[in-house]
């Protein structure tokens, strides 16, 4: 087990370094340099030069990259010249709101998707399964934003039950000031994640149902509800741990779109606005953050999986 964890940890470190390298190189794809983007078209070449000297942008790339890494290690994600504030302060203001949005939706999606997937697997190829599959397929094939637009148009405008935009108070507790305004954004994100998880849960449960331990459990004369809860559910939960870790990038992307559609002030929207205003340091800082979050998510998922399922540990040694 320790060997497995150490090996995965080393892999994760390598990948994180790779992510920072890619992000750093992206920064240098900017045409006409960061200085030009910040100081505008009217800046003289002397001013550009002065800017580059002041921020160390005239040094060789490897030196700059090393410096970039050192800054990151100290938790310094960069400085937004356009907004005159550090990227860290943006992150600490908006990240908790994202965690709340994505976390709540993820929780709700799993809460529905796990029983639904198992029910579909048990009633395979019956009406319940077909209707569940249809719903999941439809949701899966739907662009996230279109789903959001439909919810807005039906439950926000035609039937004015819920506000069409997220709570606008930009602090963390601000989102709780108007819980009704959270319903549509969270519903959108939940439905999108539900489609993903229920399909997976169904096929994973179908796989498990054919396993020997299920047959043994039935052979022992255990009642069905007991077999489903104690044997099937538990074993299926193990694989869903991995899926949650792996779907982090998709969840973050869906989060960005939901934030855009509902004007939910979160990091995704900050990122989008930064892209519109060429606020490169913000874009880079958030990209690194997303990359690292994904790697850590996968790492935790793998370790969690290995802890829950001993077969993985043995296989990884072999």
């Amino acid at each position: 087990m320790t060997g497995f964890v150490v090996r995965r940890l080393l892999q994760a470190v390598v990948v994180v370094i790779g992510v920072t390298l890619v992000t750093f190189l992206l920064q240098h794809l900017i045409p006409g340099s960061l200085a030009r983007a910040i100081m505008g078209n009217h800046a003289t070449s002397a001013q550009i030069k002065a800017f580059n000297n002041e921020y160390g942008l005239s040094r060789p790339l490897p030196v700059q990259y090393w410096d970039f890494l050192k800054q990151l290690c100290q938790g310094n994600l960069g400085y937004s010249f356009k907004q005159s504030r550090s990227v860290d302060s943006l992150v600490s203001q908006y990240l908790p709101r994202d965690i709340f949005l994505v976390g709540t939706s993820l929780f709700l999606a799993l809460l529905v998707a796990i029983p639904a997937g198992i029910a579909q697997a048990v009633k395979r190829n019956r009406l319940l399964d077909y209707s569940g599959t249809t719903v999941a397929f439809l949701l899966y094939s739907m662009p996230t934003y279109w789903l959001g637009l439909i919810l807005i148009s039906v439950f926000g405008i035609t039937l004015p039950w819920f506000p069409v935009s997220a709570p606008q108070n930009p602090t963390f507790f601000g989102i709780l000031s108007d819980p009704r305004a959270l319903v549509l954004p969270i519903a959108t994100l939940t439905l999108v994640s539900y489609a993903l998880f229920s399909r997976y849960m169904r096929s994973s449960a179908i796989d498990s149902l054919t396993q020997d331990y299920i047959r043994t459990a039935y052979a022992k004369g255990l009642p069905r509800s007991w077999v489903l809860r104690r044997h099937l559910l538990r074993n299926s939960l193990v694989s869903i741990v991995t899926l949650v870790g792996l779907s982090l990038p998709s969840l973050l992307t869906a989060g960005l779109i939901v934030e855009y559609v509902f004007n939910f002030q979160g990091l995704g929207l900050v990122y989008y606005n930064a892209a519109l205003t060429s606020d490169y340091p913000v874009e880079l800082g958030i990209t690194v953050l997303v990359g690292v979050a994904t790697v850590v998510g996968n790492l935790l998922a793998d370790i969690g999986y290995a802890m829950l399922d001993p077969r993985v540990r043995y296989r990884s040694v072999a």
Binding site: V22, P143, R202, L246, T253, Y260, L276, T287, T294
Partner: protein, 313 residues
């Protein structure tokens, strides 16, 4: 991972996933004949896949042949005819530039389908080559190649593309190339997994013993035997690419006007959501869902037939 494109392959515990290959086992596979036969059997047996194929054909006809019969001007805006409700002259009304919505659906569909197919071709070819080389050689080569995939997977496509689009102005060709270069990761991982198990098969060993080189083993034995996984994934790639394109267009990073895309139409229509201009929001969205759904049906049907045990769905 892709995802928005929700990445489609899940691995358990790092990379030690071995997918049981069930495409034809043994010997050299003479590609064209057997694959076509396989596809034919699949579609004859599988109603879902057949539905998907028929629906894709209908959509393609609508987009590419439709404009010949329903002639509309999709280049010059007409400010006298903006936001008209559906009528006999404009079956699905007009948008805020006076473009006929039905005609625009056709033109917009062309770029969606073109991008979807082209991206799937690029991504699949790259991914198959990358994954089979990585899996076949194993060891250090495999570790390095797979870490590169991990790095790219860690940055979601939409985030990366939003970043790139803030620097470059996208054209159709650029969209295809960039999306293709960002989408080969899931086929690479799947094919690698399959290669890991295929390379230990007797017929691959036999080919080696007889003095066959690695290139021969990969292209004549491994890839043809992994063709089920590859085709299934390619179908999902088309669906994913269409969704990503729609998302990017909606965010305003798609093709610039007067080029039409379904996502772009939705993005415009959003401005009028409070005015009840339903024809600017529902038709384009439905077209996206229908197209993506059809490709997903095909992929799902194919997978059932190939009995490829993908990890998801």
């Amino acid at each position: 991972m892709t995802n928005y494109p929700l990445g489609r392959e899940a691995t358990f515990a790092g990379d030690d996933v071995v997918i049981e290959p069930t495409a034809r086992d043994g010997g050299e596979v003479h590609t064209s004949g057997s694959v076509l036969r396989l596809l034919w059997h699949t579609f004859r047996e599988n109603k879902l896949a057949l539905t998907g194929v028929i629906s894709v054909v209908v959509i393609a006809l609508f987009c590419f042949v439709g404009p010949l019969f329903y002639v509309t001007d999709q280049i010059h805006s007409n400010l006298l005819n903006v936001n008209l409700a559906p009528s006999r002259a404009h079956l699905l009304g007009t948008d805020d530039n006076g473009f006929d919505v039905l005609g625009r659906l056709m033109v917009g569909g062309q770029s969606s389908i073109e991008v979807g197919l082209a991206v799937a071709c690029i991504a699949t070819s790259l991914g198959v080559i990358w994954g089979s080389i990585s899996g076949f050689f194993g060891g250090f080569v495999d570790a390095v190649m797979m870490r590169i995939v991990d790095v790219m997977l860690a940055i979601p496509v939409v985030f990366l593309f939003v970043f790139l689009a803030s620097i470059f102005k996208p054209t159709l060709l650029m969209l295809i190339i960039v999306l293709g270069l960002l989408s080969w990761l899931s086929p690479a991982r799947l094919v690698r997994g399959e290669t890991l198990s295929l390379r230990t098969r007797e017929y691959v060993q036999a080919a080696k013993t007889m003095g066959g080189g690695s290139t021969r083993a990969i292209f004549r034995h491994i890839i043809p035997n992994a063709v089920g996984t590859i085709i299934v994934n390619a179908t999902f790639q088309v669906a994913d690419a269409i969704l990503v394109l729609a998302t990017l267009s909606f965010l305003g990073f798609g093709l610039a006007p007067p080029a039409a895309t379904w996502g772009g139409m939705l993005s415009n229509g959003t401005n009028y959501i409070f005015d009840g201009y339903w024809w600017q929001i529902y038709p384009a969205g439905l077209m996206i869902v229908l197209t993506v759904l059809s490709f997903n049906f095909i992929g799902d049907g194919l997978r059932d037939s190939f009995e490829v045990r993908l990890q998801r769905r």
